[in-house]
Symmetry: C2
């Protein structure tokens, strides 16, 4: 296997090296067809097989019940911020949203264009370092749904178990946490995720929706934003992003080879635990998130002396540890440690952090 630097990008993020190697090997000729996957008609038998296998592997990994539709769409989670209210208000005019970070705020702003938003919990006061216990949330019984961002990629704040919201449909943006551990899909009305963290390259979103909720969109919904149309056409109402879909399929097969989500969850928990311990054991580094809401996937941290950030990033890059800057809106540092980041990468980062603290602390 090729040795490469460790890339801690928050997304587009590192892909499993084995997946890239397979893609490389068959880039000009997929299984003797003489065609690259990106040159295939999306309705031909070759790509149909690729697409169906990807869906069936994803269904197996997440144990998705038969009454849920799975869609492979374009536009990222930002498109879903509109598609959720456009499709799932279902005649209602109110929806419940959680505000746990920057992505929550974007989801809320878009939803407010289509309905009355009730913010059921707001982490602004604690600067997005904690989330009020779901039992205290002010749920609206007339809400069409309750929406939350399972993992705030920028803030590093994660709700590790779905909140209990009674009979109101629960919807989650799982862009940066999907496939990091098993989930019980039955607890959700809809789950969506941009691909570019744990699924594959950017330009694809996975949307999982309980089928009885489909078919009642707002009248002005663009056809390409209509879940029912896309689900009924198996995500091929128009030409889908075929090559990205194929790469997602390779990632699903890689995940199965790793032992599925139970196995990857154990690895992810070990990786996160080790990195947070290194931060907590040092006065040089800090992570302010309340322990039970610390993200397994995105670990933001600051240096006691913020002036050292540039030096940290430059020396880390020289040591083969890439893309550790925090998001431009919050600054600081951040290590994203998605499924494809091996434990050796986290260990190398910890070793570097300890040595850096010794040099500059």
């Amino acid at each position: 296997m090729t040795l490469r630097p460790y890339n801690f990008s928050a997304g587009p993020a590192v892909m499993p090296t084995e997946v890239l190697e397979q893609a490389q090997a068959e880039l000009l000729d997929w299984r003797g067809t003489g065609m690259s996957v990106m040159e295939m008609s999306h309705r031909g038998k070759e790509f149909t097989q690729i697409a169906e296998e990807a869906e069936s592997d994803l269904r197996e990994l997440l144990n998705i019940p038969a009454n849920y539709r799975v869609m492979f769409l374009q536009g990222g989670a930002s498109s879903q911020f509109a598609m959720i209210p456009l499709n799932l208000l279902r005649g209602k005019t109110q929806a419940d949203y959680c505000n746990t970070g920057i992505w929550s705020q974007k989801a809320i702003a878009e939803a407010q264009r289509y309905c009355s938003v009730n913010v059921v919990t707001d982490s602004t006061a604690n600067k997005f370092t904690s989330i009020a216990d779901p039992s205290t949330w002010q749920l609206n019984p007339n809400a069409a749904y309750v929406h939350y961002i399972a993992n705030e990629t920028i803030n590093g704040l994660e709700l590790h178990t779905p909140p209990q919201v009674g009979d109101v449909p629960l919807i989650s943006d799982m862009s940066s946490t999907i496939l990091s551990r098993p989930i019980d899909v039955n607890q959700f009305a809809a789950i969506y995720a941009g691909a570019q963290k744990n699924i594959g390259p950017a330009g694809l979103s996975v949307v999982i929706v309980r089928e009885d909720l489909l078919g009642n969109p707002l009248s002005f919904t663009p056809t390409m934003f209509n879940y029912k149309v896309m689900a009924d056409e198996k995500s091929m109402y128009n030409t889908p992003p075929t090559y990205t879909w194929y790469l997602a399929g390779l990632v699903f097969k890689w995940l199965k080879k790793q032992g599925g989500l139970t196995a990857i969850a154990e690895t992810n928990q070990r990786k996160a635990t080790a990195l947070y311990k290194a931060i907590d054991d040092s006065d040089f580094y800090n992570n302010a998130i309340e322990l039970r809401y610390r993200s397994w996937m995105n670990v933001p941290f600051t240096l006691a002396d913020a002036n050292l950030e540039k030096t940290f990033l430059a020396e880390a890059a020289q040591a083969g540890l890439l893309t550790l800057a925090g998001h431009r809106t919050v600054g600081g540092l951040r290590a994203s440690i998605y499924n494809a980041m091996p434990e050796s990468g986290v260990k190398a980062l910890i070793d570097f952090m300890q040595a850096f603290a010794k040099r500059y602390g």
Copy 2:
């Protein structure tokens, strides 16, 4: 260079072999960064360079004036069918549309959800084999714009020069003809194209809009469908389809190496002329499109004995000539001969057709 079968798919379509080889060579490591392009942060300096070079090469190829914005978006032409009226009605309530084939009909159906559509010319009566001369079109002076599909991919009907429509903004879907020859962008208010024919893999659309038309969308336009937002954010309001954008950039560089659009147009015209001549010279094959509207890119044809189609497709595939079936909605046969189809491929197809006609005619 790798020898591969000739793939006549209408899209996703054949890519230049040199482009695929370059993508393959740098798939795991783009220029010593240790990252695949698909693993790079879209806001990092490496991808910023890739994105900007792609835009500047496209501007050079099409000679796009400075007062036009270029966007690299998701969703394909089908999303543009909604985005055009959502963004470019600009307070008006009527728009002119041409009906020259199946894609026209889809564009019209979507536009009718947002405005009153006046069909200025309709090729239904001639079964989409011709287009009334633009001088006879019934233009509405109050229309927000005139929309036409420059090349009907399924029907093989192409309007080779833009219609003169006076002061009303002219908008064209050029999905299957863009970059096949030089165009005068100044004649258009907007041009859009799905990538999967002459630009790159599916999952990307190029949209070129005169900037004075931006900023007046319908109130309920999803933010991701708002041209002004996307243009102001340089197509990075959210994470764009980075890898597909990169591949499009490689195609643009390949086109420049071929001598640009004037050179590729000469080749394309030779390819199309040779193939139509082979069809016209034979009683065995037929193409019903009026000569001056015959597409350079998509050449549909029928056999005198339609029962031979399956045999034709099977024997062609054995001869290394792939994906020659007509679109499922119209049947028959179709050879798509985009920029990346070399003249040798068209020659091989003609040789095969002549030999097949001799065997079965």
